[in-house]
């Protein structure tokens, strides 16, 4: 009856609609560009820049941005721009490795919880609740700290805290998919549970999961950088962005560039993955629009 009253508050004019779509697509474009740039820089770092990211040069300590060193040098005379470029490698590796861990844990747990229900689901969801009882940074700090520092341990630490979102996503999808008739059919012809889960149900759950992965990578990079910043992650002289920020902190007053630019790099990367992730989500999981991620 009230459907005669057209839809939403503020129905937009044609111009506004086109603008919105343009902005959206631009963002997706920007996101893809950023990610590609990241990959290119990471792979071709030695060819892109001639400076050495870890070698110390006491003749050039703390120089301001200049033509030769576009982003300045740090407290050991190393070129900041070079270190940021090499940092792309760490960002990528960490982001992907962590996401891989999250995916595996999250998808498996989500599948099991959603498919079997009953006590399996309860146990898994309770486990997730337990994990939620400890603030994420606290847990990551304890993990990374007690495992010792280093990039490897950062990956483990961050890997341990981010899989909850995936579990919840997958479980929700499984819950709706398992009622479908093709699942019943598969069961009727005698497929084992495992086979049904992985061959029949899983493909249908992957849409929103993949859409979320891009955002997951962004979050992983942020968390890893935070850990390194606190001194619990990548150790010097590793050119990881978070660690660089920690270095730069001491020299804030005299050499602001040491901390500023790595931070910018993180932000741009995260934005890139966010934009890309949004575009992915629009394609793969349109009903997620407006749903908030964890």
């Amino acid at each position: 009856m009230s459907r005669e009253q057209a839809k939403t508050p503020g129905s937009e004019s044609f111009l506004e609609g086109a603008l919105r779509r343009l902005i959206r697509d631009k963002a997706a474009l920007a996101g893809t560009a950023i990610i590609l740039a990241l990959i290119v820089l990471a792979v071709f770092a030695p060819w892109v820049t001639s400076h050495d990211p870890v070698k110390q040069d006491f003749g050039r300590l703390l120089t301001a941005p200049s033509w030769e060193y576009p982003l300045g040098t740090d407290q050991y005379g190393r070129d900041v721009l070079t270190r940021i470029i090499y940092g792309c490698r760490y960002a990528l590796i960490i982001g992907l490795a962590v996401s891989a861990i999250h995916l595996v844990i999250g998808v498996v747990l989500g599948l099991l919880a959603g498919y079997y229900g009953s006590w399996v689901e309860t146990v898994i969801m309770r486990l997730t609740d337990v994990m939620l009882s400890i603030p994420s940074v606290v847990l990551a700090v304890v993990l990374a700290g007690f495992l010792g520092g280093g990039v490897q341990n950062v990956i483990i630490a961050v890997g341990a805290i981010g899989w909850r979102a995936y579990t919840r996503l997958v479980r929700a999808e499984v819950l709706s998919t398992k009622e479908e008739t093709f699942v019943e059919a598969a069961r009727a012809i005698g497929c084992s549970d495992l086979r049904i889960m992985f061959r029949h149900v899983l493909p249908y759950t992957l849409g929103p999961v993949i859409a979320y992965t891009s955002l997951g990578v962004a979050t992983a990079i942020l968390w890893a950088a935070a850990l390194s910043f606190l001194g619990l992650g990548a150790q010097p002289p590793t050119p990881e962005w978070g660690a660089m920020l920690a270095d730069g902190r001491e020299y804030m007053a005299d050499a602001w560039w040491i901390a500023t630019f790595p931070g910018l790099a993180i932000m741009v990367t995260v934005l890139g993955f966010n934009f890309f992730g949004d575009a992915l989500r629009d394609t793969l999981d349109p009903k997620a629009e407006g749903r908030l991620r964890e």
């Binding site: 939620l132 606290v138 010792g148 935070a226 932000m267 908030l292």
Partner: protein
């Protein structure tokens, strides 16, 4: 209401237990030795062994855990391995500053997020909405610690608007507030983006509801319709997710405390982890878990208050 609380508490006890088991096993089975850290790498192995025995570190893991657990049950969280003070005392000293910035940040973020979320929804798809969405996206992408450092650089060092670090006093004092403002603001502002998006999404759904139309048909002003009838309903899903976000404040506080040299528990935690101070870490994690549980309970009660349908389950 009390029964409701009691029931929830009972359910949470096992969770707490599992948390402690998890953390303790993590600590006991990880590499690194606190005594070694204390005495240095070249320490005499006999001295190390002696101190380990004294601190009870030579006993097997599960024994140590049960000793610790029974102590906790009696209210004794042990002594810090590094500082040789009671863990409970150390935490008590530092928990207040942490709670100060956390509550301040929560308050700020809700205070700002509400109007932003509502306005975005009421004027959905207008330039106002797009602008606000854009800002939200930026804030969410920016690394919290980087924003903190930048703010410190610009606002404290360069322009001297805010004091540089440390705490000036309790929250109700003027000096205290001055020092609290910047770290508290930075902590809260990232969440503003997230919460306002939540509210916007909730409001968009609600503004189309039949009862909103009914409210208008009674002659109520648009402001009453939006802020009373619509918002209250939009808050229902918002509060749930907000509850999940609350522990994030505690998380971020750890980083903010480090950047601003704010003498809170988070900062102490990082220090303790670096020094392998088992007992202190165990104690801090336990307290944090308790805090999170308390927060969740408050959110649950809030939820029941907002949505009367819950009360009658």
């Amino acid at each position: 209401m009390l029964k409701f609380l009691f029931r929830r508490l009972i359910l949470l006890l096992p969770v707490l237990l599992i948390v402690t088991v998890l953390i303790s096993s993590l600590l006991y089975f990880s590499p690194g030795d606190p005594v070694q850290v204390m005495l240095g790498i070249r320490a005499n192995p006999e001295a190390v062994a002696a101190i380990r025995a004294e601190l009870g570190l030579d006993k097997p893991a599960h024994v140590r855990y049960f000793i610790w657990l029974s102590n906790v049950a009696q209210g004794n969280l042990g002594r810090s391995l590094q500082r040789n003070e009671k863990v409970l005392d150390l935490i008590a000293e530092t928990i207040v500053p942490t709670l100060e910035i956390t509550f301040f940040a929560v308050f700020i973020s809700v205070f700002l997020a509400l109007p932003i979320g509502v306005v975005s929804a009421v004027r959905a798809n207008s330039w106002v909405d797009h602008l606000l969405s854009f800002f939200s996206l930026f804030w969410v992408a920016m690394p919290g610690f980087w924003v903190a450092i930048m703010a410190l650089l610009l606002l404290s060092m360069h322009w001297g608007i805010f004091p540089i670090s440390g705490r000036g006093g309790p929250i109700w004092s003027v000096a205290g507030l001055r020092y609290l403002l910047l770290p508290g603001l930075i902590l809260g502002i990232r969440q503003v983006a997230i919460i306002s998006r939540l509210i916007r999404a909730g409001m968009l759904e609600v503004l189309n509801a039949d009862y909103v139309r009914t409210a208008r048909s009674k002659g109520l002003s648009e402001r009453v319709v939006v802020y009373k009838h619509a918002l209250r309903n939009a808050m229902i899903p918002t509060v749930t997710i907000f509850g999940v976000q609350l522990p994030e404040f505690l998380s971020l506080a750890v980083i903010i405390e480090t950047v601003f040299a704010w003498p809170g528990t988070g900062q102490m935690l990082v220090d303790a982890v670096l020094k392998r101070d088992y007992t202190l870490v165990q104690g801090i994690v336990l307290i944090y878990a308790l805090l999170v549980i308390a927060m969740n309970l408050v959110v649950d009660m809030l939820y029941a208050y907002i949505d009367p349908r819950i009360k009658h389950e």
